[in-house]
Symmetry: C2
Subunit: 299 residues, 2 copies
């Protein structure tokens, strides 16, 4: 993979999907080749036109001769797994471009599985040699917040119809956004949303004002300005993701423990009797949990 | 608390918030008094009118002389914690009613913290003696899916404007919903959404067809029909949540391990040197994770 073999890259990504037993060892090696790619998160409610925006961003970055990896995430699709989502199809025109690689991710269950998988895939793409990694996800809830911790810069995409979202999710939006985009800005109400976001940004106490931009992705309007805003942030943001190393490490440890615990819960390990009583005799789950925790020791 | 002291109930809920060291022991005891309450999840996108619907459901259940506990969750608000959300205020008219108890929950970080807290609070309410527990949450992503596993029956609330949500989140919606509600059904486009949902339900392979209802919560229309649909499901659903005991137990164990690991990561435990190198020398997080996992043993 480090020599630029795309099939090797794909194969390693299925290792991430299946949580292959050698994954930890491989990712440890892969990580030492990371650090060159710039990771951009794109998030927002369904119907905000994120996929179109990502499509146009790919075009713009390709004009700059940059290699682009895309991770398209739908946390709400428990059934899609690694499958290609419907609206990914629009991006297949990039499929012929050897310097664009698109990967879809569906739900990975709870306990940080999705943010862990996203991180691994992004690290693989980074080590492979992509200059830009676009991470697109639907929604602005806790899962998305976790996923966006993987990005250097996060773009929150809204539309004129997103007034309710802004009202309900104020704190969450401000927590997550490095750039706000009002897409479909030719529609009625765009100015109102734009003003609301500006007011929200003004109110925030941070010294660094979050830029608010208008785009019409479908007709390529505002894309250059968006890239310019992202590049400005990237210059200020050199320190990058170093501050997140502890979270990353915690994520990895918990994901591994979760994996082991799941196998145990299927009755394949040392807790067989405990699990059997839980399921068949409807034991108290807090009691069983305490008994399991008793057996896990740090030496 | 078991004697009906509401102040004791509130105090135990702050134990859940702070993850008090005695919580496991207390919840083990509490759990043995659980099993009487019926737990109803209410979820849907922001602006769907869920709070109004919950308000009307409280009224309707109170007319049946049932005691009602409400857990209002906003997974996207990392800052609200246990604080009362803005639109909770509308519910304060129930504040004078001794048989209604409303509790807000904000984000609890990743790794299942929110579903764990929701489960604990629901168990406390159940043991306290509430007949109905309404669990309201914003969104239909992975976090909400996890939270809704705590409910016997889940109502997904949409509005005529939710066409995009339905298109994007088909699989997630079908996974989660026991009842679909089209609220604000007097608005334009209600019939179209209603037909789309019916088509979605027809396509699904399950033998049990998910009912699709129309409501106008604000003028109390369709509420009795909704309660009727929920009661029908509750009769078929006697087995309840027993199948989820393993997930519940896994949740509890992981939450405790996460808690311990977080303390470790703050350099207060046995991994001090490892964590210091990670943060200061920017060590490889996969390597540090492997070293930590080495030290965790099951005996």
């Amino acid at each position: 993979m480090l020599k630029g073999d795309k099939r090797a890259l794909s194969r390693l990504m299925t290792y991430v999907d299946n949580r292959h037993e050698d994954l930890m060892k491989i990712m440890k090696e892969v990580y030492s080749h990371c650090g060159k790619a710039y990771r951009i998160g794109i998030t927002g409610p369904p119907g905000a036109g994120k996929s179109t925006l990502v499509d146009k961003l790919i075009h713009a970055f390709r004009k700059q001769k940059k290699k682009v990896g895309v991770i398209a995430i739908d946390p709400s699709s428990p059934f899609t797994g690694g499958a290609v989502l419907g609206d990914r199809i629009r991006m297949t025109e990039h499929g012929a471009d050897d310097d664009v690689f698109i990967r879809s991710l569906g739900s990975r269950g709870s306990h940080g599985g999705l943010s862990r998988a996203t991180r691994d895939i992004a690290n693989l793409m980074d080590a492979f040699g992509f200059d830009i990694i676009l991470i697109e996800t639907v929604g602005v809830g806790q899962t998305e917040l976790d996923i966006m911790a993987v990005a250097h810069t996060t773009v929150v995409v809204l539309v004129p119809e997103s007034g309710d979202t802004i009202q309900t999710m104020k704190a969450g939006l401000m927590e997550i956004a490095d750039v706000f985009v009002v897409n479909k800005a030719d529609r009625e109400g765009a100015d109102r949303i734009f003003a609301e976001l500006r007011a929200l940004v003004e109110m925030a106490s941070s010294t660094q004002k979050v830029p608010v931009l208008k785009t019409q992705a479908i007709s390529n309007k505002g894309i250059d300005e968006l890239i310019c805003a992202i590049e400005n942030i990237s210059r200020e943001n050199k320190a990058g993701l170093k501050g997140l190393l502890k979270e990353e490490c915690t994520d990895i440890v918990l994901a591994e423990l979760h994996q082991k615990l799941k196998a145990e819960m299927e009755g394949k390990g040392m807790f067989t009797a405990l699990v059997k009583n839980l399921a068949e005799k409807h034991h108290n789950p807090y009691e069983t949990a305490a008994e399991i925790l008793e057996k896990i020791k740090v030496k």
